[in-house]
């Protein structure tokens, strides 16, 4: 049985949110959005969240705190998380490992790769 997968996106940029919603809706996913980490945390109330895509820098609560909070909720501790990164990070490998995210994704790859990556992660 194929159920519609739910993706939660946390990003304070309206343009980025619009782009992601457009691409992922088109691919058949259900989207939840939030402008910061704290708002995103409200969605972890028992409902199904199959993937989280989060920006690193956000007001109120940043991406790293959001990831840490999600991993500490028993029900959601194994949810795959994509963290948007930038080229400024030197050792990306250890940064991603330390962040608790599943993978890091450069924002400039969103346009071309996001849908296929999401598909490879949650089907």
């Amino acid at each position: 049985m194929n159920t519609i997968k739910t993706i939660l996106i946390a990003d304070d940029s309206h343009v980025v949110l619009k782009l992601l919603i457009h691409k992922l809706n088109k691919a058949g996913y259900k989207i939840l959005t939030s402008a910061d980490g704290k708002e995103a945390l409200h969605y972890f109330d028992g409902r199904a969240v199959d993937l989280v895509i989060t920006d690193l820098n956000m007001p109120v609560m940043d991406g790293l705190t959001l990831i840490h909070s999600v991993r500490s909720i028993e029900r959601y501790q194994y949810v795959p998380i994509v963290l948007f990164t930038s080229d400024e990070i030197n050792d990306k490998r250890s940064f991603i490992r330390g962040s608790g995210a599943t993978i890091g994704l450069n924002k400039n790859e969103v346009q071309t790769k996001l849908t296929s990556i999401v598909k490879r992660m949650i089907g």
């Binding site: 490998r93 490992r97 995210a101 599943t102 993978i103 790769k113 990556i117 490879r120 089907g123």
Partner: protein, 416 residues
């Protein structure tokens, strides 16, 4: 050559047991491709050995079985109930053939003809259904994929990635399990598994690399292409990577185990128990005659005896798989016959009551193996090594542990 025939028989029985074990494991669908490969290899070895020792009928029968399983391992066929039943019937018959290769018993001859007819018909029908597809312009790639050890705990599931690879062409994925530690060192949030993937596809290496690119800093990835076009085929050196040879450490050239007939082990256990009695007498004597020299000797003798007893006991423990296989087969046959799904419970109840010696009567003498790999194996072995009398294994005995006297009766009547 004649003098080597007993050795051939012994190995053939082991191979038959291995195939049966693999088949029953395949039905539980764990690591399927590796299990089928193992089964195929065992059949191949049995066929080769039989040819060498002149067991033509065994060679012939195994050859037809092997051709069916060649279709299975190359993903042109899945194991159906018909194939499973045919295989198990063949394995039973192979064991009979080992003692009656010339079919001197009329019943064996009749069974043999009937079985051969069924196998040949099945193999021919399946082969005709699955004429190998011609794959032009394809390349075979060997991909080694080892995710970071924390990646699965962070929500990554490789199944979707593998599903995509399957869409590109015939693909065989084998898990490398050699890094999985013993149970006490096992951490459930760590991924110890890596995968070897053999993919025949029209896509190029760049496309394959691109599929894994989102994990580029989260895994070890090696993609190598075979030169020239080819049909899908498993490279055995890759498929063999996770197979553990339990007896001989080939890399070091050291023999870590020997084969000893179980009767000798029984004799050893008897002698050890007699020795323990003598030791107890000696200790009493030493207490009654407290001379320093005698007490020192008694103490040393006691220590040595205990070591010897523990050592002998460890040697006589049988690897758990030799116990499980006959029971798995019993579970399978009964559940098929009566369409019950809870036979595992019945058999587990039986297992905790069975001593090692009665297991030996159920199966062929197992090779001596010194390693009991996991603590739970040892616990189980110890729990089943308590004294046992047949009448204790009654309906009532099982009733307390399982479901109904009727079921217990069926199990006990099949076992003894």
């Amino acid at each position: 050559m004649e003098s080597l025939k007993p050795k051939y028989r012994e190995q053939a029985l082991e191979l038959i047991a291995e195939i049966e074990k693999s088949l029953l494991r395949d039905e539980e669908d764990t690591n399927r491709s590796a299990v089928v490969e193992q089964m195929f290899r065992a059949m191949h070895t049995l066929k080769g050995n039989s040819a060498m020792f002149g067991f033509r009928k065994i060679e012939d029968l195994t050859h037809h079985l092997e051709s069916i399983y060649d279709l299975v391992r190359t993903y042109k066929l899945t194991i159906t109930d018909t194939i499973s039943n045919l295989t198990l019937a063949s394995l039973d018959h192979l064991s009979v053939l080992l003692d009656d290769e010339n079919l001197s018993n009329p019943k064996t001859k009749k069974d043999h003809d009937h079985l051969m007819h069924r196998i040949v018909a099945c193999a021919t029908a399946l082969k005709n259904e699955h004429v190998p597809a011609v794959l032009s312009g394809t390349k075979t790639f060997h991909i080694f994929f080892a995710p970071d050890e924390d990646l699965l705990a962070k929500g990554f599931d490789p199944i979707f990635l593998f599903s995509e690879l399957y869409t590109l062409g015939p693909c065989q994925i084998t898990a490398r399990l050699n890094k999985i530690p013993v149970l006490e060192d096992y951490e459930n949030n760590i991924c110890y598994t890596a995968w070897d993937i053999v993919l025949t596809t029209a896509s190029d290496a760049e496309t394959l690399k691109d599929i894994f690119s989102f994990l580029h800093d989260r895994c070890v990835l090696e993609i190598t292409a075979e030169t020239g076009t080819s049909t899908p085929r498993v490279d055995h050196t890759v498929a063999d990577a996770h197979i553990v040879e339990p007896v001989v450490d080939r890399s070091r050239g050291i023999i870590s185990g020997i084969r000893v007939p179980s009767e000798r082990l029984d004799r050893l256990m008897n002698m050890v128990s007699e020795l323990m009695t003598v030791q107890a007498k000696l200790s009493v004597l030493a207490e009654q005659n407290p001379t320093q020299e005698l007490q020192a000797v008694a103490e040393s003798f006691e220590k040595l005896s205990f070591h010897l007893r523990d050592n002998a006991f460890e040697m006589c423990l049988v690897p758990i798989e030799y116990i499980m296989v006959p029971f798995q087969r019993l579970v399978r046959d009964l559940s098929r016959e009566f369409r019950f799904s809870f036979w595992n419970n019945v058999i587990l109840a039986a297992l905790v009551s069975m001593p090692e010696t009665s297991m030996n009567k159920q199966s062929n003498p197992p090779p001596l193996q010194h390693d009991v790999r996991f603590p739970w194996q040892r616990l189980l072995m110890e729990s089943i090594s308590k004294p046992f009398r047949k009448q204790e294994f009654s309906h009532k005995h099982l009733w307390g542990r399982v479901f109904s006297p009727d079921l217990a009766h069926i199990v006990t009547s099949r076992l003894f």
